[in-house]
């Protein structure tokens, strides 16, 4: 009888749809995947090792380079960890600036995901639409921090710069614009039959599997588990805003898509309230010793990044440098389930599944 030939295929590290230097060694029979083995580490820069020789403020630029699509959140998690250790008071205005920049970053990150995911599925235009909106966010963040991708904006105890004049008004004006565009996205993509056929029922897993594999963010919420650290373990001043945890109950790529699109909407809601409540005057930097020396001990904090639960563990010896710094990088954990999802799928689904997980290689490899 005719038996088809199995072959080994290297997807990546240079491949248009692996979003960076991610490599996947798959065994295929025709187009059917029999076995998949992810290979990572091509972008490993040893951030944690480098950090052991740096002062805390010097580490902040390195966090920018982990999840380079949502650098504000990374900035924040490090500062938050140090602040938790030192029990510092953060000025009101700084907290609001942090929230606004982080939520803008979340929207930008989801927009990039949306554009590139559609690009993976073969539609070219959404990518450019998404980047138009992202560009506006980047410009806003550029204005406040001086950086377009790696912001290096937050500091232990506050933020580096106050918002320039008229900045809050610009954010305010951006919110209704983004809402309008979001509706347009729905018209272009969400109702498209081809798109729906590509994502529905693809890469499906149950709630239990998601928890077992330590998935977080939209990857966890798409199974129907309403789990968002902003709501469930409020940090900063998230408890002051009313917003909903977006969930879907399908557990497939379509669910993840819906969750992320709704999260943009929820982020806009938070932004709306934040710019409304934004204090007129105030400091943006708390009372922080010149040299930051957290007391001896250890801490682990986790917050909600666009990609999931980003955590920061610091073991301190009471010195200027951390004794051990470790980031819980959500993409690294989220990617683990990939081999399980791929078996029995074909090449086209591989891209749809990998894209829906939403990884950033800078974060996977640390």
């Amino acid at each position: 009888m005719i038996r088809t030939e199995e072959m080994l295929l290297n997807v990546g590290p240079q491949h248009p749809s692996t979003h960076g230097v991610f490599r996947l060694v798959i065994k295929i029979d025709g187009e059917m995947i029999i076995d998949a083995k992810p290979v990572i580490g091509y972008l490993h820069r040893g951030t944690e090792k480098i950090a052991e020789n740096l002062q805390y403020t010097q580490i902040i630029p390195y966090t920018d380079r982990l999840d380079y699509l949502a650098a504000m959140t990374n900035n924040y998690v490090l500062c938050h960890a140090v602040e938790t250790m030192m029990e510092l008071e953060i000025p009101e205005r700084a907290e609001y600036l942090r929230i606004i920049t982080m939520e803008l970053g979340r929207i930008a990150s989801h927009l990039v995901w949306w554009g590139t995911y559609l690009l993976d599925l073969g539609a070219t235009s959404p990518f450019l639409y998404a980047f138009r909106e992202r560009e506006m966010i980047i410009n806003l963040l550029n204005e406040i921090s001086g950086g377009r991708l790696t912001f290096n904006y937050m500091r232990v105890g506050g933020v580096k710069w106050d918002a320039p004049d008229g900045w809050i008004e610009k954010v305010k004006a951006f919110i209704p614009y983004m809402r309008e565009q979001l509706a347009g996205y729905g018209d272009l993509v969400t109702g498209n039959e081809i798109f729906l056929n590509r994502v529905k029922g693809i890469g499906q897993y149950t709630k239990e599997e998601a928890m077992d594999y330590s998935l977080s963010g939209a990857n966890l919420r798409c199974t129907g588990l309403a789990w968002d650290l902003r709501k469930n373990e409020p940090y900063s001043i998230y408890d002051r805003f009313s917003f909903e945890i977006c969930t879907a109950d399908t557990g497939d790529a379509w669910g993840r898509y819906q969750v992320r699109i709704q999260e943009i909407e929820q982020s806009l809601r938070i932004l709306e309230q934040a710019v409304e409540q934004f204090p007129e005057t105030g400091e943006v930097m708390g009372k922080v010793p010149k040299v930051i020396k957290p007391p001896k001990g250890e801490t682990f904090v986790r917050i909600e990044s666009p990609r999931g639960e980003i955590g920061c563990y610091i073991a301190s010896e009471g010195k200027k440098e951390p004794y051990r710094l470790k980031f819980r990088r959500p993409s690294f954990y989220n990617l683990q389930i990939l081999p399980k999802l791929l078996v029995g799928q074909n090449m086209a689904n591989l891209i749809a599944i990998l894209g829906a997980i939403d990884i950033v290689l800078g974060e996977v490899d640390g």
Partner: protein
């Protein structure tokens, strides 16, 4: 280059690195002895070294010495630290009964002292002087602890809101194990008051399984797993969360630094798979029964484990 050549080269490189490390360790020990004995013997040692090695070696020796000194200091401090830790413990016990607390504290101190002695024993093989220094430090620490107790009495710390939760965990653990399987348990106030449990190495896996399966604990989500090199020991830090009970716990286990080996919990939480690989890659911790333990970040041909505190890059030029 053929696979064999590569293999050969790798082996050679590893051998070299190992030899270097061995040499360094020997030197360090020698150094420690001598530096502890008297400073006047120093020149002799350097002569010793220079007679058979070049200038670089000297530098390395100096570095090793500094490291050894740091290590000794660190150990002394560690002893102090572990001694002060029980304060939290005692604090809670106090609420129940001061008398029991006192007895327990005494026992703890005794145990600690014994530990220190044991440590000293193992150190003896390396250097007796270090052990002596350590014993002295321990004694000093003991002095300190009494001091600490006094200050505590004067201004008591408000009990953590998480204290009842930790007590509940401990009760469940006590129900399931006859012997004391925990090394320590306390509230980590610095880490948002997370209940922290330090388990003995041999009970790590079974306790993890209990944590996942027991309905009162039910930690179905592994949030974080990583290792740390604390120079005197290796530690695995696991942060668990229960969506059902909305509680978290930090589970820790300590292991021997020279031969770090611990059971893998990837069979309990599949999400621990890659983090364990990462700990293996960067710290050299061996996870037994791991489904696919490999060097996930650096690749199999990397020499050394970078996050170890005594890591020296194999190729210094790079």
């Amino acid at each position: 280059m053929s696979e064999k050549d590569k293999e050969q080269l790798k082996k050679e490189a590893a051998e070299k690195a190992r030899a270097a490390a061995q040499r360094k360790r020997e030197e360090r020990e020698k150094k420690k002895e001598k530096s502890n004995d008297s400073a006047s013997e120093m020149p002799q040692t350097t002569e010793d070294v220079t007679s058979n090695q070049d200038l670089e070696k000297q530098k390395a020796a100096a570095a090793a010495k500094a490291k050894a000194a740091a290590l000794a200091k660190k150990k002394a401090k560690e002893a102090e630290g572990t001694e002060t830790e029980p304060t939290a413990n005692q604090d809670l016990e106090k609420q129940k009964a001061i008398a029991i607390a006192k007895a327990k504290a005494a026992a703890a101190a005794k145990r600690k002292a014994k530990n220190a002695n044991e440590n000293g024993d193992s150190e003896k093989a390396k250097a007796i002087a270090a052990a002596k220094a350590k014993a002295a430090a321990a004694a000093k620490a003991k002095g300190k602890i009494t001091q600490a107790k006094e200050t505590e009495v004067s201004e008591p710390i408000t009990p953590s809101p998480q204290q009842p939760i930790l007590d509940r965990y401990l009760n469940i653990v006590k129900e399931h194990y006859k012997d004391d399987i925990l090394e320590d348990s306390y509230i980590n106030r610095m880490s948002k008051h997370v209940p922290t449990i330090v388990v003995k190495l041999e009970h790590y896996y079974s306790l993890a399984l209990l944590f996942k399966q027991h309905s009162g604990l039910h930690f179905e989500f592994l949030s974080e797993l990583h290792g740390t090199d604390f120079e005197t020991y290796m530690e695995i830090y696991v942060h668990l969360y229960s969506f059902k009970n909305k509680q978290s716990v930090a589970l820790k286990v300590k292991m021997d630094r020279e031969n770090p080996r611990v059971d893998s919990i990837a069979s309990i939480w599949p999400g621990a798979n890659w983090p364990e690989c990462e700990a293996y890659d960067l710290l050299g911790i061996q996870f037994t029964n791991h489904p696919d333990l490999h060097r996930i970040m650096l690749g199999e041909d990397w020499v050394g484990h970078p996050l170890r505190k005594d890591y020296e890059p194999y190729d210094v030029e790079v």
